[in-house]
Symmetry: C2
Subunit: 110 residues, 2 copies
């Protein structure tokens, strides 16, 4: 049985190539259990922000925490602000919009 | 100024180590622009399912599409069913629950 022809616009889903690059970079950054838990820790911390001093007991050293927080920031998932001795990280809302767009489409489909 | 002591339960966010492993595997699978667009294509395709024949023009060869769809399945993001000549893929709802849990926490924080 021949397959019905589909519209080209539907084929790559709702992502442009550029949007896919940006979102993929974010997903890749979360593709590590430690980084995922750190992101979650920042997101769920009181006031929506946390510094290394707040999340130093995830099971890795403080320099490792700092390293991963920087990676999350580079991927566009977190923003940071230095206040006194500490750098405070918080979730970047536009990152959630990009990832949420995908999950929203997928939730409707599932 | 000394930092206020925080509750240990808050520290790693809302993920157990096992949940973090599972979700990180899913995020990692989506950490590639082509796979991300394929996942989105399956999710947004009519009826919530698609086969390789439906999504062969994302800009990569059909064997590459097949390869990536298998990777998405291995990560728990898609399920598959063979019907006649074609294997049909659809989004695995429990995958969305795991990823949605994180984004939901993060959305409240942002």
């Amino acid at each position: 049985m021949p397959r019905r022809r589909i519209h080209t616009a539907c084929v790559p889903g709702s992502f442009t190539a550029e949007e896919a690059e940006t979102a993929a970079r974010m997903f890749k950054a979360l593709g590590d259990p430690v980084r995922l838990r750190l992101f979650s820790a920042v997101a769920s911390h009181e006031g929506g922000e946390a510094c290394v001093c707040d999340i130093s007991d995830v099971g890795v050293s403080q320099p490792t925490v700092s390293h991963h927080l920087k990676k999350l920031k580079e991927a566009g998932l977190l923003t940071s602000e230095r206040r006194g001795t500490w750098v405070y990280y918080r979730v970047e809302p536009s990152a959630l919009a990009a990832m949420g767009q995908l999950l929203s489409t997928a939730t409707k489909a599932a």
